[in-house]
């Protein structure tokens, strides 16, 4: 492989590695798998670079490869076991949000809020795969509805329905906890 190719690939990896890993981890909730599958997405990218049509945003095209890999992985069931292994017990002191700063001064309120949010994020992980991916792409990656539709290869109307159903479930979780 020519020097220029290597440099171009390295540049892409350096630009997208953190986003790719973070997104994979958000779907898989397992660091080792997130590393593995985000690396696999880069390999797919390398192998299919010539299929990038140039019409879509590059990141949308790359996210599509990555999200498909992650959803396939979880669909096969292996991801679910790993998820169970990694998932914190909502009632224990362990929390996915441990490293988040608590925005409230009142420690009781802050604790209550953190518990609630831990339950809500655990509920995100239990959503149907397309709903979960749509929520993560929206609130974490800050993609717009048309961009999410492009990543998930569905219509904007379908994305709206996914998000509506997901938010309905999450609102219930939030209000009952």
């Amino acid at each position: 492989m020519a020097y220029r190719d290597e440099a171009a690939f390295d540049l892409l990896v350096a630009r997208y590695q953190e986003r790719a890993y973070r997104l994979a981890w958000s779907i898989l909730r397992n660091a080792e798998d997130a590393r593995d599958l985000s690396q696999e997405a880069f390999i797919r990218l390398y192998q299919s670079a010539s299929s990038f049509a140039g019409r879509a945003k590059f990141s949308t095209w790359f996210y599509r490869i990555l999200v498909n890999l992650c959803l396939d992985h979880r669909r096969k069931g292996r991801g679910w076991r790993l998820w169970l292994r990694d998932e914190p017990d909502p009632d224990s002191g362990e929390s996915l949000l441990d490293r988040q700063p608590a925005p409230f001064a009142d420690p009781v309120d802050a604790l209550g809020r953190e518990r609630t949010l831990t339950k809500v994020w655990a509920a995100v992980d239990r959503l149907a795969p397309q709903q979960r991916a749509a929520v993560i792409l929206q609130v974490q990656e800050e993609l717009t509805t048309p961009e999410i539709a492009a990543v998930l290869k569905c219509s904007e109307a379908t994305v709206r329905v996914h998000l509506h159903r997901a938010l309905r479930t999450l609102k219930k979780t939030m209000e009952t906890s």
Binding site: Q39, E40, S48, A49, S51, D72, R78, L170
Partner: protein, 160 residues
């Protein structure tokens, strides 16, 4: 009241609706206390979620890229072995056996990965992206201006 714009409330609070759609939803909210309350709850939930995104465990990026490089080299070596080397039949067969062993072995120990979809492989073949460093650089013009500076540094160190 009929036709509550349930699925539009999220896009509405995020400011994603087209003007005509936005106007229609706004008019509905003025007249429908249920949807108004619902829109506020959606707004609050999206804010809460956005502010509390769980943080992924830290990664050693140098090691990450080294691992990726090894995987890519292994994949390319496997491809070369399959396509381009004329080998005597017996050697080909044993090589296939070895590759099969490694495929099974690596498939067993790493997360299962689907073969590339035809779409991934075929869609365009118009833009030979990774063969052109300049194209990768031009991605800056298409999106994400915030990384240009760090890229320039990166490109500088790689070119130098």
């Amino acid at each position: 009241m009929a036709n509550h714009p349930e699925t539009e409330l999220g896009p509405y609070v995020r400011g994603e609706l087209a003007p005509s759609e936005r106007e229609r939803v706004a008019r509905h909210l003025e007249a429908c206390p249920d949807c108004r309350q619902d829109a506020e709850r959606v707004r609050a939930l999206l804010t809460e979620l956005g502010d509390s995104v769980p943080v992924a465990p830290a990664v050693n990026w140098g090691r990450y890229r080294a691992e990726l490089r090894l995987k890519l080299d292994a994949r390319r070596a496997r491809r070369r072995a399959w396509w381009s080397r004329p080998l005597p039949l017996a050697l080909s067969a044993s090589l296939a056996g070895v590759l099969l062993f490694f495929a099974v072995w690596s498939g067993w120990r790493s997360p299962g990965v689907e073969p590339m979809t035809p779409e991934e492989a075929i869609i365009g073949r118009r833009l030979d992206l990774l063969r052109q460093y300049s194209v990768v650089e031009r991605l800056d013009l298409l999106e994400e201006f915030d990384v240009i500076r760090s890229l320039d540094q990166l490109a500088g160190t790689q070119e130098g």
